[in-house]
Each structure stands twice: as C-alpha cells, then as structure tokens.
Symmetry: C2
Subunit: 336 residues, 2 copies
DNA sequence: TTGAAAGCGCTAACAG
DNA sequence: CTGTTAGCGCTTTCAA
C-alpha cells in the first residue's frame, strides 16, 4: 500500500519543496550532495517508487517498448520468440518494460495500436503486417522491423536473406548428387515461405532440373503439418531422393512420417531443414540445415532502437539482409 | 504525429467542453446520443487515441498486466512461454497490455519491481522467486502465481502436481517390469525438479527398490544437459533398463546419446519423459511422457486475475494442484 | 444534459 | 542551490 508515497511526502519529511525532491531523485547537479543524500535516504526508507504514469505524462515518453509479432499463436517458432524476448529485455536500458502484442490479435479484436510506447520492434512474417507497420511509422516514433525485408526505406530493417540461404542449401544438395528434389514449404502468406520456395524453384531451373509436382507440398511451419505433407508425398508413388523442408519443425515431422512408412533417412531419402532450431542437432538423424541468423538480426535491431530512442544516429546500417549459413550434419547422403 | 489530438481538440471542433468529450468517449449515459455520435465521429476522423498515461494517472490504473517469469533465458521452456503469452493476451480484456519481465533480470540489474501494473501473473519455478512474489503481494494489487505451489495462502495459486505425476510415471514403469531405474533430474533450484526427484525416490523406496547412484544424474532442463547426463550414465558400466527424465527436452538429448553410443530404445533402454512437449510425439521413438496441464493452469490463472482486477470474487478456487496424466507412446518397453 | 474547476504525481521554466 | 508556479491529458466532483 506504499503507492501513497509521493515526492510530496518525501518533501514534507525532508523539509524541502517537492521540486527539490524531484531533482534529487533524478540526480540533478542543481542539488547539493548533502540534500540529495538525505532525500535519497528518506525515499529508500519509505520504499518510494515513482509513479511512472505521471512521469510518462509529463515527459512525453512511457518507458515502454512495444514488441509486435505477426501472430503469437502460430508461425512464430517458440524458441525464436523466447530468444527474442530474452535478448530484448537484456539489452534494453533499465527501467524499460516490453509490451508484447500481435497484429493477429489486434485484427481479431478489431483494435488499433495504442500509442503508449517509446519505440517499436516488429518481428514481421507477412506482408499483411504492412498496414500496421505503416500505422506505427505514422506515429513518428522509432520503429525497427525485423525478420522480413520490407518495401520501404524510411524504417530500419534487418532480415535473414532466406532466398540466398535456400540457394546455398539446394546447391549443396546438388553437389551431393541429388537430382530428384522435393520441397515442403511453409505458410503461404509468410514472406519466408515465399522466398524459400522461390530459392528452391529458381535454383532447380538454373540447373535445368525439372521439378516434379508430386514432390511439392505445403505446410504451415508446424511439426504436424510437416508430417502430413510428407505423408502425401510418400503416397504419391515415385519418390524423391531428397527433401528440402522450409523449417526444422516441419522437417522433424516429415522425418517422422518416413520412419512410420519404413523409409530410412538418409539412405532412402535425405533431408535438409531451415532455421537450425535447438532440436535439429538432437533428432535422429541429426538434421542438416540452414542457420538463420537470429542473434544477428535481434542484436542489430535492439542496438538501433536504443540509439533511436536516445536520439542518437545508429551505428548500424539502415537495412540488412543477412546471409544464413549451411550447417552440415547427418541427414543428407551423398549419392552416385 | 497525431498524438497532438486530445479531447480538447475534439471539444473545440464539436463546440462542447472537453468534459463532455471525455464523457461521450467513455459512453456515459449523461450525454445525449446525438452529441455522442458527433463527438465519436470527429474522434474517428481525427484518428484520436487517448493518452493512456494521463488516463492511467487519474484513474489509478495502468492497463498493464505484469507477467513475470523466473528466467527468460533458461529453465522456462520456450513452448511453455509462448503458449502462456498467447493465452494471456487472448483472454485479457481489450486495451490491456502485457509487460513481460523476469526475476532473474531484475536480480542481475539490481532493480526492484516497478509499480505500474494492475495485476501480476507470476510463472514461478523456484523458491528464490518468493522475495519478489512478496514484493508484488505487498502492493496490494491482484497477484496470481502459476506453475509452482507456494507456501502462502493469501494469493491465488495454480500449479501442476509434479510429485503425483512422477509417482504415476514410476508406477507405470514398474508395471512394465522395470526394476533398474535411473533418473536425470532438472535444475536443482527449481521446485519442479525437486518434486520430480522426490516422487521418483519415494516411489522406489515404497516398492523396496534400492536405487543405484550411478543412474542418478542432474541436468538443467536443456537438451544438451540431458545428453551430457546420459553420457555419464552410459559410461558408468552397469546400465539401467529404464530412464525417467525430468523433462522432454532432456529426454530428447538423452535418447540422442543412446543412439550415439549404440544403444537401442526401447529395446535396451526405455525412456519416460515429463511435460508432453510439442516434439515428444515426433521424436524417434515417440516419447512416453507425463502431460503437464499447462492449459488448465494458465486458463485458471487468467480467469482469476481478470475477476480480481474487476473487483469480482473469482469463481475458481484459491489454490489448485492439478494432476498430470500419463501419455503412453513408444519409448517404454514391457520387459520379463 | 452540459460546463467550470480541481487534481492525479511528476517535471520544467523562472525567479530568487 | 532551492522554491513557486504552471501544466502534461484525463476524469470527476459540483453547480447550473
């Protein structure tokens, strides 16, 4: 019940004006050290804690960083989200809170974004986020968009170059002798799915490999959807020698399906994932995959947002499309 | 830059006082329908959005729900956290924001909790959280503690009965003919680890089975730690016929170790996990485990918090220790 | 049904 | 170095 302790309470006890208390507590050079110390002591003794709403009202900032995901529910892998939140919280100046929200949630509740934030970090998956990103941008407050390359140059934007990552993946598979390649792609409306699919298709074409439509399936990035998609492919008769799966979660489901249908990995079918999730080094067999540069994206984003909030010009570049890297493990067999 | 639109702006245009605008926007019965509509229209046209800081200051509430985890970094499984956040956000009344934070973070930064929240949801793993829970309780605001049974009866508290869940698990293993049982337990300071270990030890004792210290190892709930712990056990010479692993993540690591050392599961070593994580139904073999009632815990917690915030008395009971259930899959073999 | 005035707790001129 | 005064945008008496 100590929310009744205000700077005036302290002022009365210290026999000074509440202004002096405010200054002392904010470590203003305008207050004598001795007075400061007295005031701080009283504040501590009374367990004073400033009313952030009042402070926010007058300072025109709220000490809140908004973190928006496309969807809290599906599509954003839990480990990505959890790593993200941890990083953000870790790198933010003390006193800042992070408010987690999702565009999908806003849409469902027909709400519009609220204006109580000093900066926004958007973890975007889909072009459908653009209208919200635009609303955020219109507030004039710092906005950094992560994860997906956006089509505007007035915002800071750090993403993973999924297209080039996929090209790397497929060219590796070709080098390993595979020509019969299949794909399970992710949520169709997600930019990452589109880029990964395009990388796959373009690379096949470049190497004059005709694709087999029986080996093309679509999931939604969930483990179960990978299972279902693979089941469909396995039932289609003619089999690929290798599957490129748009994320590790679906790859895990797909490999499970192979196991259930009696196909051995990588002897009969090889697998290439995407993301390098925490589990990909422990599944059976260990999954060869493309490492998405999550850490780099996040760090850049937060550093930039921090500078922006403090009105400094960020040290990093405005936009970055970071190249993922190949992680070779056990799920791709060299053939011929 | 429309943050300059205030109720006074609207008042001027509508030719009424700002008081009336405030009332209209809050749908007060004191305002004539016609006036209300006019005002609402103007507000919409001007893209008005209330200054939540001002509102919060005068109403003595902030429209923020604090969500505290023990640690954002380790121990809390990402899928648990992500499901939690999604549920919370989904069930909260429109207009509320969730501020995500961790006690570990507070400790590291030597910060104390800030008072800007209308209610707090604590996802607690460790008794070391108690001092912070106490600080939260002292604010007099609604606090609901989830996940871990706490030692006080003035707060609402919903947890999983890990002890009884483990007893269920071990008795099942005994029924399957296993007598040579090992365990990999989790973070020692976590209550869940302690309860799961105690359930294991007590059940063995109850059935007069002497435990083999070579088969007792400790991890930290991470996949890698499960791998390391299992490696140690495999190297100890004499082997158990079955391992109880304190969570599914570590079980996945431990099974990986068996694979690497050439032991087949469940033929040579059986595995029982805990949690029923999203991956446990897809790993090879599918993991037999104990389903932690995450959904139930969360739902109860949020419902209660909602009532508390609205000054209603919650429909649910004050404390609940929900029993987990056995999920039989493929990783435990019946022997003899 | 409306408006005038006060005040939430804080910071920021301005004056001493 | 310190205090007086005003005001942030909103809700809420109280009076009309």
């Amino acid at each position: 019940m100590n929310d009744k302790v205000t700077i005036k309470t302290i002022a009365k006890i210290a026999n000074v004006s509440h202004t002096t208390v405010s200054r002392a507590l904010n470590d203003s050079p305008l207050v004598k050290e001795k007075t400061k110390k007295e005031i701080r002591d009283i504040a501590e003794r009374l367990n004073y804690s400033p009313n952030l709403n009042a402070k926010a009202l007058v300072e025109h900032r709220s000490f809140i960083i908004a973190v928006y995901f496309t969807d809290l529910n599906s599509g954003t892998s839990p480990s990505f989200m959890s790593e993200m939140l941890h990083q953000i919280k870790e790198m933010l100046p003390a006193g800042y809170e992070i408010a987690v929200d999702s565009f999908a949630g806003l849409r469902r509740a027909k709400q519009s974004i609220n204006l109580r934030f000093d900066g926004a970090l958007v973890v975007s998956q889909s072009v459908s986020d653009d209208m919200y990103i635009d609303q955020l941008a219109k507030t004039g407050k710092p906005v950094v968009v992560l994860n997906r390359k956006i089509d505007r140059d007035d915002l800071f934007n750090y993403a993973s170059d999924d297209y080039s990552g996929t090209v790397t993946a497929i060219e590796y598979l070709l080098r390993m002798g595979h020509r019969k390649l299949g794909i399970i792609s992710g949520k169709e409306e997600f930019t990452s799915s589109q880029n990964r699919l395009a990388g796959f298709l373009d690379t096949l074409q470049k190497h004059n490999i005709t694709r087999n439509d029986n080996w093309v399936a679509t999931g939604d990035y969930s483990v179960q959807s990978g299972y279902n998609a693979m089941e469909k492919i396995l039932n289609s008769g003619d089999l690929p020698t290798c599957m490129f799966v748009s994320n590790d979660d679906m790859a895990m489901g797909a490999m499970r399906a192979c196991e259930d249908y009696g196909f051995s990995i990588p002897e009969q079918i090889s697998f290439m994932g995407f993301d390098d999730s925490a589990y990909s080094n422990y599944c059976i067999p260990r999954l060869t995959t493309i490492r998405k540069p999550v850490r780099e994206i996040t760090n850049n984003g937060i550093k930039t947002l921090n500078s922006l909030i403090n009105n400094e010009s960020p040290e990093t570049v405005q936009a970055m499309n970071i190249k993922p890297s190949l992680v070779v493990r056990e799920s791709v067999k060299k053939i011929n």
